[in-house]
Symmetry: D2
Subunit: 404 residues, 4 copies
């Protein structure tokens, strides 16, 4: 006879409350899965990382996903922290991704490299405070401004590295959304920001001379989500990659005339605007996702990190100025998955493991993204270019302005 408890036992995943991070427990869970699903997890069971290194990274560990890494480069970066030629580890299962980025890196490198700049740093937790009406909410907002030093003290007492820059305020009816903006050292910093903000909120609740309640997130953070707010006001790193791409190099390596590219950019910018896109460029997510997996970043943050704003100009000498701004790039060089076996090694490839390296990593991310933009743009236009001989007459201005 099968009792309810038996059923419970049969469906509950095995755990060892004392020491769950062992190959033994991983094996028990794989066996449990095999029994219930029929799946053989022989490959999942192959790894060199030490299960004992995993607390804080995973629960119910059963093994690993083996994600192939390809290397691309060299990519010449002229950053403030990232300077020199870089070889980039890209973990992906999408064919041609590495090759395509590689091609873009060559174009940029042969044009003298990519200039990279982190222009703003800001990680958030954004609670919402609820009072009785809009007037009280405005009053509460003033009180927060006046008590910023005390609030900062509370928040910063919880963390060694986090510093509260300022608190943005957004008013809706009786709600006051507060956006706590931090610098977070080398960590991506979401947890640091949450913990600090929680302490600050509790202090506010105790000390504010009025009734209020709050939620630790009012959903404007927006953590693991793209939002226009993040594009405007920065989340994580706001970082710019820019390059003047030589006409000669673009023609030679990409078979593309910068003038044609600029013509196409007008259409692409309209497309991005029309679609209500998070990114008026091409495909930042591709390079970023591959870099994030390789280097132990929080891959869910692709949601925020893939946003971008491309700004370009066709220069009088025929060269092409190309910039891409990532307004909400979420990266860290400590914490999260950065210390795991393969992830640490990939960070070391970039000289980005350990303290004081996060800006360097952000710069590399932006440079990689720009490489991918150049390559995909050329591929897309060359599809058209290839068949150029089939084109009808092209002497009329409104069609062919960029091509003649």
């Amino acid at each position: 006879m099968i009792t309810g408890a038996d059923v419970q036992d049969r469906v509950r995943i095995p755990r060892n409350e004392k020491n769950d991070y062992s190959e033994e427990m991983a094996g028990k869970r794989r066996e449990f899965v095999r029994e219930r699903t029929g799946a053989n997890l022989s490959h999942v069971a192959q790894y060199s990382l030490d299960p004992a290194s995993l607390p804080g990274n995973i629960e119910n560990f059963i093994g690993v996903a083996q994600v192939p890494i390809g290397v691309a480069g060299p990519l010449r970066i002229n950053g403030e922290q990232a300077q020199g030629n870089f070889y980039i580890p890209l973990a992906t299962t999408e064919g041609s991704l590495v090759a395509s980025y590689n091609r873009g890196m060559r174009l940029l490198t042969e044009s003298g490299g990519v200039k990279t700049t982190v222009v703003e740093v800001s990680m958030q937790r954004a609670p919402v405070f609820i009072v009785d009406d809009a007037r009280q909410a405005r009053e509460f907002g003033r009180w927060v401004e006046e008590h910023l030093p005390a609030i900062r003290e509370q928040a910063e007492a919880t963390t060694q590295f986090g510093k509260l820059r300022n608190i943005g305020q957004f008013a809706v009816g009786p709600l006051r959304y507060l956006r706590f903006n931090y610098t977070t050292g080398d960590a991506a910093g979401q947890n640091m920001a949450a913990k600090a903000t929680y302490a600050a909120c509790e202090w506010i609740k105790k000390n504010y001379p009025g009734r209020l309640k709050y939620f630790l997130s009012g959903n404007i953070d927006t953590d693991k989500k793209h939002s226009h707010l993040n594009t405007l006001l920065t989340r994580g790193k706001r970082v710019v990659a820019e390059a003047v791409i030589r006409r000669e190099a673009m023609l030679r390596l990409m078979q593309l005339d910068p003038k044609e590219l600029f013509y196409a950019r007008q259409v692409q910018m309209v497309g991005g605007f029309l679609a209500g896109s998070a990114n008026n460029g091409a495909h930042a997510a591709n390079g970023l996702a591959a870099l994030f997996i390789a280097t132990g970043q929080d891959v869910a943050c692709i949601a925020e990190s893939h946003a971008a704003i491309t700004y370009s100009q066709y220069l009088d000498d025929g060269d092409f100025y190309w910039s891409i701004t990532l307004p909400s790039l979420i990266v860290g060089t400590c914490g999260g998955g950065t210390g795991l076996a393969t992830q640490k090694q990939c960070l070391e490839m970039l000289g980005c493991y350990g303290e004081g390296k996060v800006q360097r990593l952000a710069e590399i991310c932006a440079a990689v993204v720009l490489a991918g933009e150049t390559s995909l743009a050329a591929a897309m236009l060359n599809g058209d270019w290839v068949s150029a001989h089939e084109r009808l007459g092209r002497n009329r201005p409104s069609i062919e302005g960029g091509l003649s």
Copy 2:
């Protein structure tokens, strides 16, 4: 003396044009990287997959990222294709993610499970055609409508599985953006859609009795990017997960009253709207990224896939109806990384490897997302709840409506 050629040799990553997918070449590249960057790639070199299986997945292969997998479940799903209890492989380096989703799965399972439905299927490539003026563009649009059967024939001739559903049209000045909507069988289908659309575009260019040029992407696809267009008009799968969560279970497992949750939802929905967020729920990206890495999906598609629309109601009996709609979920059960060693095994855990399984996988993705929503919402509200004893008086209606 170092010549230019020497320099070139020293920076170019080793490749073997004849057979690049071998452990030997991987090793040469690791050595190349070690020499130039100092990074020891000993862990990256540890894998059980066969390098010979990697053409079409990676270039310049050097090894793998080992991403820890945890298992969560069981998750009861009452889908059309996914039916029963599922154990979910989640590949992540973010601590507590698996535990949190696991808790949500329990809540849903004890409430009778998640109902899942794929309501629309549509993969795109969206070229833009450029003619001389808006009037010609309108004329061109009509011509495309009239020639849809021939265009479909051209597109579908390139693919065994892809079917052209229809072509959306968007007019801007002399531009006509065409959005080719396909079903793509079990593949995510981006490449299939691109190839088919290219063939169609070339046919159009040859046969249209007027001057035109086109770009294969007009940037409204929007591939690897969130866009409002995708939220409205679907990209990949539009899939819904919904559940009636029992008040008793929510109180017992989450220490949360559905009434309080509904109160909070009003604030969260305003926050999502205010922020201009891609998702008025909580954190779809977390579960999806972990599932995508484990099962060999294109992880860059988190950019599109994390968009979501939450719709909920507080029911008269005190239960809570909760739905989440993913309008642009990009998944496949063949192609991409789905056939690689660990990825295939994780798909097998879900009964999703091979033909005819993509809808099942889409349903599982949505169910997992809903589990994560419930868990994070409870955690966020319980942060407040924990300190409820410290709260000031709470009898006035506009603050405390959801809590009394």
Copy 3:
């Protein structure tokens, strides 16, 4: 003693249920207002329209707002319906508006005029149907598709001019938003669409073999509101104005080089994208509001109508191709305020009074908007231009690309 009834009498605005549209009743109400607010409405009382003409336009009539009208032009339009030189009545209280549009009209006219094209026509009412779950909602959607002929019959039976083009469907959880798209003859057509859709919805509710409820608006119409949906899918008229502006004329009349303008456009497009703007051009609302007031349009529809997409190219001969697309222009030449005294006369100035004129009016609106764009762009750039002598050296490419 003042009783409750007395108080009621004292605050209620006088009405005459039998014949409220008379100067006598208007006078009584003005007196009522004067007694309670002290405001002398002597000017409000000055009008030449006949109060008896006002049923269907206003309730509780007390007089008129006298909004000054200025005339601008001639504006050369090469439309499908609007052809020739036009003199444009602009009702506004904002100084320089008429002068600025007038200047733009001269530039366009001297460049050969504006080409205008209505590329799509579609007025909506968008109800939402609610069923038990997403699966039923999908089923309901199919049923609607299958019964489109019967639904169309019901909708069109309520109107002489309205024709149901198609029904868009948007799925969220158990909700099915239906977007009924109509052509509405010469009327703007909101009421026509509402009435027809109501009939269709009632028929659906009676005939659908399942449980459902509906709201006549699910808030995606989006009536009197800008929305990205409208920009994508058209509301009212989607109309394009385009012109090739001669370099010579722009230099002579605007002291502006098209090359500089194109340089600036790159920055402006980025600004529009960054801001999340409804319009990546300059100020469509200015000209439209003035035209709408003068010609009896529904001025609240500026909310929708001011959305726009600018697309431009710098041509090889130094001329400037400039297009602006208004995706949701709401205008009519019958119904609403079009038949009132001054409004009718202003429509007659444009040859737009009466049947068969709505496309002509839409074309004129777009042409006027383009005129305003050129003028403001030049003014903005000339502010910089004026002080050009103070500028620092300008030989470096990334700053001065467009100016040298």
Copy 4:
């Protein structure tokens, strides 16, 4: 023989450079229009305003648009500046608008009135500065911060009433968008902000120790355009109207149960989010446009002013808390059209003419908007209600949650 000059004379609108603001010149222009278009402008010629009062309001004056005004009220407002019962002049040609708002005003008034609060004040001009690269742009941004006192001095020297609150900064590539935020006294203040910002920009250009150029608008202001930026960061007045609507009053006056309304609000909020709407409420533009025309506001600013965020809760006692937040309401009580004949009288109806009244007017606007929201919501739901007897069974929770 007709010469070019003759042609020019025949098409040019008559102007008198010395004194153009006379009935004589208006008459000449009307005659000119009549000759060229055939339109008789007899009604346009009827007005009581003095043409000599019009410099600064119109050019090429030919007469007026007579826009009918209806009066609605009383509307009980419990604002900070607006306190008491108000009678509202609404200038519109759309039938039922006045009646509908009037009904909502009664509901609000009988529920105790509307509480109104201006929570933020901020008018902008947002120039963009362009330097050589992102690093210089970041440096420039710091310089601006450091020189804020000097910049403020320059800006404020140009205006009696404008005060520079702060300067927001937004970084894209080599561009630095600066958003100058002002308070502007009783004026809407666009021109004041432009003039002050121009002075500041010229000073910056002279004093910045590096190369730069700027445009006075970088298109993120966003003047006369809705933008997400404005919704987040306020343009003009951010003003809230809120009310607790009594269940009894809603049932009696609207035949609507607040519980049903709250159920519907969930659907409407999803609709607003799905559509990418500027406003998740109903139709703020209707009341605002009518008020703007009556009181001499800049009607083009409906583009910005119609944005809104509705936040509501269903209270435990069955009442309904309803708030609407207008984040970018653009109004003034001096300047613009506020001093014209009828416009001034309508402002006097509201006690809003002259100095120190702008906050009062903003509060009235918000209160009027809330009245319209209640009325339209009820009308929409009653359309469904009316036919309630035809509804199928309604006992199942997911459909009928709000209705039982």
